[in-house]
Symmetry: C2
Subunit: 226 residues, 2 copies
DNA sequence: ACCTGAACACCGTTCAAGT
DNA sequence: ACCTGAACACCGTTCAAGT
């Protein structure tokens, strides 16, 4: 009922809502989405919930536990494609689904990379990959490795993509200088091919590059059988 | 000459050594290697150099600049394979070389992923990839995209691998509980394939998985030509 | 027994005061 | 002009004191 004694915007939480672990985790994701990974501090999360910082420790044992809980929750946001579309469309769809979810919740990427995550919802994604590959008749080894390769590629790709998108956004709003490559400064005998093709700084990470790598992995998987 | 007034180990820096940007960056990598990313603070770095924290700001504009400089320096540690071994051995060798370097300097992985890096030494790696592919007769588009796919896969993979190796090390020293999957708790109608194969928690990230994904990408690239 | 404000041991960076 | 100690505005977490 009483307003929190701060200068920040008043908390959005209904005052009669009981604080639960689920409420804490969802608010943490909302904070992550709104203000990014660095903004997720115990103090600011507590403030958004209209609660004293130490009240959070009733529902999470520490910040690592908060991050682990929030990750398992975020995995539930990933739509799993249907099973009957074939292994190639299935794995490709799962990759695009994971990427879309991570781009929608860019703040989760840092904790996702930083800690192992074998919660029940991750296992559901793994089951989908195994089902696709075994139904298609691949060997047990490929059934395990191929979906893992696609998932690792996707998470790794987006882990690189998100900071570069955030950088691009800062360039647009004028708070960062755009990246440029000064081709004229490169010694021509060391950079002959670079100076012929002159790939722009945006070539390293973009949507077409994601699709190129994904399709190469899927082509390579196709060559292993079934 | 005078010892730093702290309780920490005395700094290893020779007292008559002039502080330069290069010395600062190399000590930052040494601190990263020795104690990990979280240990790299301006204050602790200054302490190791036997210098007051603000003295660092003479050589770097802020912590982001320190990280950018240290990344460009770390790229020089990556051995580039010879040019005359063919595109497949060349790209594969580059990937393994990048992975080995990152595993030797695990603390650089976090800043490497977190910010764009187009320093001159990165461009030298890119030039190597372009040279391999153009010499082999691939199209300009594939010459740009294929090395990028291999490099993104490798960096992304190791970004996931490093925290899991650190976790495994904590398990070995007894400070973390090992990850287990409780197969008995999984509802059998949702997890039929998982319960048949029962892949262990270590299957997601390991050396064989890295090689599997790398070979699939290389196979997929081979299919595009030349 | 439960809750929480104050405190602790840190951060990166600013800036005024010193030489 | 150059340098730097103190200070500021934060952290995550501990813990003693309060109800």
């Amino acid at each position: 009922m009483a307003a929190t004694p701060t200068t920040r915007p008043s908390p959005p939480r209904a005052t009669n809502e009981r604080l639960t672990r689920d409420v804490v985790l969802r608010e943490a994701i909302a904070l992550l989405d709104a203000e990014g990974y660095d903004a997720l501090t115990m103090r600011r999360l507590a403030e958004r919930l209209g609660v004293v910082p130490m009240a959070l420790y009733r529902h999470v044992t520490n910040k690592d536990d908060l991050l682990a809980g929030l990750l398992d929750l975020a995995v539930t946001f990933v739509p799993i494609p249907p099973l009957d579309i074939g292994w190639r469309a299935g794995l490709g769809g799962l990759a695009r689904s994971i990427r879309a979810t991570m781009l929608a919740h860019p703040g989760v990427v840092t904790p996702l990379v930083a800690q192992p995550n074998l919660g029940p919802h991750s296992l559901l994604l793994a089951e989908y990959g195994l089902a696709l590959m075994r139904t298609a008749g691949f060997s047990d080894e490929v059934a395990i490795r191929a979906p893992n390769a696609v998932i690792v590629y996707t998470i790794g790709y987006v882990a690189l993509e998100v900071p570069r998108l955030e950088f691009a956004a800062r360039v647009l709003e004028g708070t960062s200088q755009p990246l440029t490559i000064d081709y004229e400064a490169l010694p021509s005998e060391l950079f002959t091919h670079t100076l012929v093709l002159r790939p722009g700084p945006e070539e390293f990470i973009n949507e077409a590059q994601f699709e190129f790598g994904l399709e190469r992995i899927l082509d390579g998987i196709a060559m292993t059988g079934p």
